[in-house]
Amino acid sequence: MEETFEPKILGMLCSWCAYAGADTAGVSRAQYPPNIRIVRVMCSGRIDPLFIARAFENGADGVLVAGCHQGDCHYISGNNYAQDRIELFANLLNFFGIDQRRLKLAWVSASEGTRFASVVTEMTEELRALGPLGLKVQR
């Protein structure tokens, strides 16, 4: 039997909504594939494109950035800046020969546990279809 490719996903989640939503997924026992590794930041506005780039260099096949829905940001507007930056950066990915679908931006509220699970599930499946990125840089 051929082994299915298991993508590596880095999740960068804001503390107030998306990370709390991922916690809620746990409380509700919503199941999703174990492919994601989560890094918590206070606000999605903190997420520097550098982090994403470094994740790809380090072997991630995909990066999920998730924060509060528009209008819900605990810091008023951080998620707006996040959206601008991430979208801009996504456009640059093509230059590096990285499929834009490997970077995903999602808004997940603290109560959306099942939504978080389905976002991760879908992303895992999509990346399985895309195959490995293979960008691991040796340091």
Binding site: A20, Q31, Y32, L50
Partner: protein, 1008 residues
């Protein structure tokens, strides 16, 4: 049996959003607060909602942090499943008897793992989900419940003991008894909220309880809620299908002289609009129809929200349905008259939502008796004086907030809660407040090699059952810098805390990593633990191997174990880079400045002074009073405005702590929270004064829009505004008009200014009464779009007016505003009546315009100085529409009254007391704590480009023009880190989340 009496400063009854806000406001001032909540978890109604109008933010996202804060606050004691039995004594010293119902589970032991619920054989309707799903006899109310402890519902438990047998920590005990407690408090706040009517006895024509697909709006909130029984998928109860047509019926049991309650329930027009909008989002292609009589979108941004909903396709039909019948496919046929066309229709829908009346909490009458206060004929708590003391109950020292008084939305509830907290602080103002905990002595580890200790938790079987905990601990032991790695059954239990403390000392640990549940809920517990042995809380890190691992990857041990190892490796990598987070505080000048001397400013100043705080009150005019100097009488009690003015001015003058500056204006403001330097200019010939204050309250009021050139205003002296009418009524210069036309929404609710002025309708109702008295026999015409006499009190006031005055009420459309023309000796008002569907020409000799309202003319200048923002109408923008309605985003500056948005005097007073309560927090504490996770600038790297400045939502950054480097006011920074990613030079860092710390985790995420 003698009972020990414990002393607290204040008691808060009910822990919905109102009770939580009131308790936090008092506790933050240093008062010790006891919170008594009837249910097993705090949160009240708000946590059952999906999103909240008018900003559509997620209810749980904004409520959950308050819940956690409440549970963790050192000055708050929380008693859930408890009730107040009896109150004796008087203000300053109430003796309170409390009954705490046992839940048969030891709150100290329960880990919230839910094993018990899994094995419990009993299923009952889940009241949290309004009966739309089932829960067990042992249950957690909802996933975010606080405290996160299971409860046994004894009435339904069959005593099988399965829970007891499975519980690893032995938390279940059927021997645990209910407790009677005695406490002594100085003041009490009642925040018991409200419930919604279930129309099974009244209004049966709508089929609730008979037809499966007829729900109450609260049930529907659970249907659309992401955390609800259908995970937010909109499903018909009869078959689980997504409905294609959903309808709402408004005022079910409200606004009814028969078959319900006479008052308006205030919130339902807006929540129906919200629910309809969410329905269109969740079920694209669906139709949403709202049947209404008057669409009461009265608040700030409410009308815009309503327009947006209509633009998104929500259909509004003016007409109150007569009956509902169920079809064989369980769809519903509704019979109604579209009153704008006059047609009676039978229309089919898949689901029907009833916006049912808000009714008092069921226990109110008993509680009122226990408290010795009055409730009204329905069971809502009544205030001592509707106009001037809206938050004071009928007994001194007991105050009211939120839904306990009647229907209220979240912003009004929160404002009232802060107001009640301000009032409740007064009788206890002489008491000694809890001192800030002295910072613990800290070991400096900055130069040391990192030595980490790892503790891997099994959480009973919650982690250990799904992954190999010893293997993870073994793995951790091999990681760089790890000197110790252990497993523990329950990391958060007291014995593990002891072990952690001992290990830190024994092994000289300078980093601690716990692999367990979520840092959000449990992080602070461990941070406190290591602080006790001299480690800075910044040196702690957590790996979330339960919520984000064992619980979500419960099938197959190996992948979960591998992931847990990765998570631990990431945590250890980050721990290596952690640094101490300095705890900083800033001294505060304990003086307040209030700008504006109307009802709002005077009330705020008086409340401040009564809390023991020196206050400056600055008024631009030569007299205090604001609009009270112009108004004739005041609704709802018809009290002369002059009387109210005298009363308030006297209150100000009697308080030596208040210093009033008249004919004075603010010229300059410098500094930040705790230390503002303000320059006052006392007008021509007056002095220029410098004052230093710790906090500021802005209460600059509102004005009527300039309507010149419209509705004949300015051209004809017989066309006047409501304020001008008030002046004439006051001065007795009305004359003898025989026909008077009032035009509501003059200059508002149209394309150019979509806002609804919130108070215009009530003003027109009051003045219809006054006009009938001043000009007996005159015909009175009221031209309106929707009659927005919202809430309890106003609707009844309106009904009374209608019966007495019998005005002609003419409903016009905002798109076809009335025209006023001079004709011969009289005036003619032309208007299209949408209910008669005819053009009317009304002969009038006085036209009164209910003019659009706006913020003060000088607001644009003042807002620059205050570094705050406003909307298009010059009304100030609050920090958060729902949970911080009285704060600005700028720390230390607060707002109240009509400068935020027009409001009635009772609402103004509640808000002003609330703003005083908020501002008193830093002033009474004497210091403000600086957020430890702030941004820092590396001055050497900074090029002074200023790119970061606009990214900071709190205005914490300024450019030092002379040195050309960035300057961060740490006390203003709230630690979001948004600026950091904006800096092109890499000159910014965030403490606790530096690039190095984040990248360490990313680089450690995978080993290959």
């Amino acid at each position: 049996m003698s009972m020990e009496t414990r002393a607290y400063d204040s008691l808060v009854i009910g822990a919905g959003i109102s009770g939580m806000q009131a308790a936090l406001d008092l506790a933050d001032k240093g008062y010790r607060v006891l919170v008594v909540e009837r249910q097993a978890s705090v949160g009240g109604t708000m946590v059952k909602l999906d999103k909240t109008f008018p900003t559509n933010d997620c209810a749980i996202c904004i409520a959950a942090p308050k819940m956690v804060e409440l549970a963790r606050h050192p000055n708050i004691t929380l008693l859930t499943s408890a009730r107040v039995e009896r109150v004796t004594g008087s203000v300053g010293s109430f003796e309170v008897a409390i009954w705490r119902q046992t839940t048969y589970i030891d709150p100290e032991k329960c880990k919230g793992c839910g094993d018990c619920a899994r094995v419990c054989p009993v299923e009952v309707d889940d009241e949290f989900n309004a009966g739309l799903s089932k829960r067990k006899a042992v249950y957690l109310q909802f996933p975010q419940a606080v405290p996160a402890i299971y409860t046994i519902d004894y009435a339904n438990c069959v005593g099988c003991g399965a829970c007891d047998r499975i519980c690893d920590v032995g938390a279940v005990s059927f021997l645990k008894r209910s407790q009677a407690l005695m406490v002594n408090v100085g003041s009490i706040i009642v925040a018991t909220g409200f419930e919604v009517l279930e129309p099974t006895e009244l209004r049966k024509e709508y089929g609730y309880g008979r037809f499966a697909n007829v729900l109450t709006a609260l049930q529907y909130e659970r249907v659309i809620a992401a955390s609800g029984p259908t995970d937010g998928k909109i499903a018909r109860p009869s078959d689980g299908e997504t409905p294609a047509r959903v309808a709402w019926v408004q005022c079910v049991g409200s606004r009814s002289l028969k078959g319900g309650y006479p008052y308006c329930s205030k919130i339902c027009c807006m929540y129906a609009t919200k629910e309809a909008m969410i329905t269109l989002e969740h079920a694209p292609g669906a139709q949403a129809t709202i049947f209404y009589m008057d669409l009461r979108a009265y608040g700030k941004d409410f009308q815009q929200y309503y327009r947006r909903a209509a633009d998104h396709g929500v259909r509004y039909v003016r007409g109150r349905p007569a009956s509902v019948e169920e079809n064989s496919d369980k769809s519903l046929t509704i019979t109604y008259e579209d009153t704008l066309s006059g047609e009676v229709q039978h229309e089919q829908f898949d689901m029907l939502v009833l916006s049912t009346a808000v009714v008092p909490a069921p226990d109110n009458r008993r509680l009122a008796k226990a408290l010795g206060v009055e409730v009204d004929e329905y069971g809502f708590f009544v205030s001592h004086n509707d106009l001037l003391a809206p938050l004071q109950s009928t007994r001194e020292g007991i105050f009211l907030a939120g839904g306990s008084q009647g229907p209220n939305d979240i912003p009004d509830s929160v404002a009232q809660a802060s107001g009640a907290a301000g009032m409740a602080a007064i009788p206890i103002s002489m008491r000694k407040r809890a001192a800030e905990a002295a910072p613990l002595a800290e070991r400096d580890v900055s130069e040391d090699e990192s030595r980490a200790g790892v503790f891997v938790c099994g959480c009973g079987k919650n982690i250990a059952g799904y992954l190999d905990v010893p293997a993870v601990a073994d793995y951790a032991r091999g990681l760089p810098n790890v000197v110790l790695s252990e497993t523990c059954t329950f990391a958060c239990s007291e014995d593990t805390q002891r072990r952690i403390r001992a290990s830190v000392e024994e092994h000289g640990l300078n980093r601690v990593v716990v692999a367990a549940c979520s840092p959000i809920t449990h992080g602070p517990v461990f941070q406190q633990t290591i602080a006790e042995v001299g480690l800075n809380p910044g040196l702690f890190e957590m790996a979330n191997i339960r919520n984000q691992c064992s619980w979500v990857h419960s099938t197959g041990n190996a992948p979960a174990t591998a992931k847990a190892e990765d998570l631990v490796r990431m945590a250890v990598a980050r721990a290596d880079k952690l640094q101490a987070l300095p705890a900083q505080t800033v001294e505060v000048t304990p003086i307040c400045l209030v700008i504006g001397g109307g009802v709002a400013g005077m009330t705020a100043a008086v409340t401040m002074a009564d809390m023991g705080i020196e206050t400056f009150l600055v008024e631009r005019e030569s007299v205090l009073g604001g609009k009270l100097n112009t108004l004739a009488t005041l609704a709802p009690s018809d009290t002369p405005a002059s009387e109210v003015r005298e009363q308030l001015v006297r209150a100000v003058q009697q308080r030596p702590r208040i210093k009033v500056f008249l004919s004075a204006e603010v010229r300059e403001i410098d500094g930040y929270v705790g230390n503002f330097r303000v320059t006052l200019d006392e007008g021509v010939g007056g002095a220029v004064t410098q004052i230093q204050v710790g906090a500021m309250i802005v209460a600059t009021g509102y004005r009527e829009a300039d309507l010149r050139g419209r509705y004949g205003y300015g051209d004809d002296p017989r066309v006047i505004t409501q304020l001008e009418l008030e002046r004439r009524l006051r001065d007795g210069t009305l004359g003898t008009p025989r026909s008077i036309v009032m035009v509501n929404c003059a200059g508002s609710m149209n394309e150019e200014n979509p806002a609804c002025c919130r108070i215009g309708c009530t003003i027109s109702v009051k003045n219809a009464r006054m006009l009938q008295r001043a000009a007996p026999g005159a015909s009175i015409y009221m031209l309106y779009q929707d009659m927005r006499v919202y809430g309890k009190g106003q609707e009844e006031y309106f009904t009374k007016m209608v019966a007495e005055v019998q005005p002609f009420r003419i409903r016009y459309d905002g798109g076809r505003p009335p025209e006023v023309r001079a004709r011969g000796r009289g005036l003619t008002v032309k208007v299209y009546d949408t209910l008669l569907r005819e053009d009317l020409a009304i002969e009038a000799d006085l036209v009164v315009l209910t003019a659009a309202l706006q913020g003060d003319a000088q607001t644009p200048r003042l807002k620059q100085m205050l570094k705050v923002s406003t909307d298009e109408l010059n009304f100030y923008s609050e920090a958060h529409a729902k949970i911080r309605p009285l704060d600005f985003t700028t720390n230390g500056v607060y707002l109240c009254g009509a400068d935020h948005y027009p409001r009635t005097i009772p609402d103004t007073i509640a808000q002003a007391a609330g703003a005083a309560s908020r501002a008193a927090i830093p002033l009474l504490r004497g210091r403000v704590t600086v957020e430890p996770i702030v941004a820092e600038v590396d001055e050497a790297a900074c090029s002074g480009c200023g790119d970061c400045i606009p990214h900071c939502p709190y205005g914490a950054m300024t450019l030092d023009e002379t040195r050309k480097v960035l300057n961060i006011a740490e006390v203003l920074c709230k630690g979001c880190g948004t600026c950091i990613a904006a800096c092109p030079s890499g000159a910014l860092q965030q403490r606790g989340f530096s690039d190095g710390q984040v990248l360490a985790m990313i680089e450690a995420a995978w080993t290959i």
